[in-house]
């Protein structure tokens, strides 16, 4: 499923005192099966942007093509887009509302009018993709689960719609280290298995650098940088100047370089940093 965003602009509260141009002529192309990371400080337009991709928001101007179909046109039905492009909001667990986990995840598929056995199959598959045990949780109230589990149930609800594009808005925010790791592992596993397109919004530069094929950097409603993690984080000073950080492994390497050590600074993961340091120690 390819996505082509052409020159979209979005303005909140147009012609009111608090008018905000949240997206300012944004153009982006995303290929089928790509893993795209989106970074940008709070208010840079990330959430506004991704809500355009599944038709929740309409641009003031510009076009959005999903598989060649312009979804900004009136005749395109919102539910059809939402089935193809699944969006997991920030803190999605606040939107759980049914009395059992099963019902919560089945809500979307039921609305599609699928037969009961297909619904059950989808709930089963979605739970296994998010790493929860069907028998253990299916009849539980979502409110009796841990924070990390609740969030996975909420994500399962979106996955059960079998979207070809899965968008996650800061899916690990507020989770403890274990919950964080569980969600990341789940996303990795799913991407590998389903080969779906994933768009991940996150403030965690280490995660973004490790997972993304390509990173989109947003600032003041514009896309200011895009490229592979290496290409993007090469602009370290610029990234820091717009209120973002660098992957921790890269920070360490940059500090070593400053002290005159011969190390590469385009290092993004702990594994790579470990190798560099081993080389450094061995060459002493």
């Amino acid at each position: 499923m390819s996505i082509k965003v052409e020159n979209i602009t979005h303005i909140y509260n147009e012609q009111m005192p608090y008018e905000t141009t949240a997206l300012d002529h944004v153009s982006v192309e995303i290929e089928s099966g790509e893993f795209v990371g989106i970074i940008g400080h709070t208010g840079s337009g990330k959430s506004t942007f991704i809500q355009h991709l599944n038709g929740l928001l309409k641009p003031k101007s510009g076009k959005i093509y999903i598989n060649g179909i312009d979804i900004t046109e009136k005749k395109v039905k919102a539910p059809e887009i939402r089935q193809k492009v699944g969006l997991v909001f920030q803190y999605p667990e606040y939107q759980l509302f049914e009395e059992t986990v099963f019902k919560d995840i089945a809500f979307g598929p039921s609305n599609l009018g699928l037969p009961q056995n297909e619904i059950e199959q989808r709930v089963y598959e979605a739970l296994s993709l998010v790493g929860l045990d069907y028998r253990e949780v299916t009849d539980k109230s979502p409110f009796d689960l841990s924070g990390g589990q609740k969030r996975r149930v909420a994500i399962a609800g979106v996955i059960a719609m079998k979207p070809e594009v899965l968008i996650l808005d800061e899916p690990t925010a507020g989770l403890d280290p274990k919950g964080h790791k569980e969600i990341l592992d789940m996303i990795k596993k799913m991407h590998k298995k389903e080969k779906n397109t994933i768009i991940l919004v996150s403030h965690n530069m280490g995660d973004i650098a490790e997972l993304s094929d390509r990173i989109i950097v947003m600032e003041k409603g514009k896309v200011v940088l895009t490229g592979s993690p290496k290409e993007v984080f090469k602009n370290a000073d610029y990234i820091e100047s717009i209120g973002l950080g660098l992957p921790p492994a890269m920070i360490l390497m940059r500090m070593l370089k400053q002290r005159g050590k011969h190390v590469y600074t385009d290092i993004l993961t702990i594994d790579q940093a470990e190798k560099q340091i081993l080389n450094l120690l061995r060459s002493k």
Binding site: Y18, H41, T42, G43, S146, G147, G148, A173, G174, L175, D176, P177, K178, G179, H180, K181, H203, M205, G206, G243, L244, G245, P248, A249, I251, L252, M255, L256, R259, G260, K261, I270, A273, E274, I277, L278, L280, L281
Partner: protein, 278 residues
């Protein structure tokens, strides 16, 4: 008296409304927090951190044991105002903590409720906003500020009450990297320059590493308690209870497993760089 907070054999149980069941959240917690100290509290979700924090300023009262704030027993209702004034709290979501349409009104809200006279309130509003570096924003509407700025306003609102101690419950969880830095710089400044006792609950190990002391909570009990160095050395134990270590500690741990004798007390980037460059 050198302790800001004294906790003796604290037990806490929630009573769940639906079925009347008691849910144990803390058991046998003994903990003293020294005046002027900076303590980080870490633990996985549901381990009891927020319950502990709320017991520290009488938002919750012990099911068993005792909590003293500045020497006042939190179970003594007549001391409630003294306790709340001594120990302020800042929560995760700044949006839920700001009540007014203009920043300076928000800061004045708490002192006004205490019945403090207007001249003094004005002075406190100014000082509090200056302490968090937000004085220039005093006439702005809170909802137009960034997450980090809003959180600093929430902190200023607490400072205006002139607390000796501030308990932060995951204050940076919802912020971007810059907002996190703003808030952490503010917290450290309040501790170092104003001498305010700090208790910081956080999931970010690099933030916990900045404290003088780390208390690790697991299943309602204190699992580890010591300096950041002495706590983060225990990589395997921390992993077992669902926690991580700062990246530098992780790298040191891996190198050690490869037979390289990295000193055990390396937890910051600077220390690692110094070690590798020696």
């Amino acid at each position: 008296m050198n302790n800001m907070i004294e906790i003796k054999d604290l037990t806490f149980e929630y009573n769940r409304e639906e079925d009347g069941k008691n849910i144990p959240a803390l058991s046998g917690v003994d903990l003293n927090i020294e005046k002027g100290s900076f303590t980080a509290v870490i633990g996985h979700n549901g381990s009891g951190k927020s319950t502990l924090a709320k017991n520290m300023n009488a938002l919750l009262l012990p099911s068993g044991g005792k909590v003293y704030v500045n020497g006042y027993d939190t179970a003594d209702e007549s001391k409630l105002w003294h306790i709340r004034q001594a120990a302020g709290m800042v929560f995760q979501n700044p949006d839920n903590q700001l009540v007014s349409a203009i920043v300076e009104d928000d800061i004045a809200f708490g002192p006004e409720n205490l019945g403090i006279e207007p001249g003094e309130i004005k002075k406190r509003v100014k000082e509090s906003l200056q302490a968090v570096g937000m004085y220039d924003y005093r006439k702005k509407a809170p909802h137009l500020l960034s997450g980090g700025q809003k959180q600093r306003i929430a902190i200023a609102g607490v400072i205006a009450m002139r607390p000796e101690c501030i308990i932060f419950d995951e204050p940076t969880a919802m912020l971007d990297p810059y907002g996190r830095k703003e808030v952490m710089d503010t917290i450290r400044k309040l501790n170092k320059e104003e001498g305010i006792t700090i208790i910081l609950i956080t999931h970010f190990m690099d933030e916990a590493a900045l404290a003088d002391r780390i208390v690790v909570i697991d299943e309602g009990k204190i699992a580890l308690d010591g300096t950041p160095k002495s706590v983060f050395v225990q990589v395997e134990k921390l992993r077992k209870i669902g926690l991580e270590v700062p990246i530098v500690t992780e790298i040191a741990f891996r190198l050690r497993n490869k037979g390289i004798h990295v000193p055990e007390d390396i937890i910051s980037l600077e220390e690692m760089v110094n070690y590798l460059c020696q």
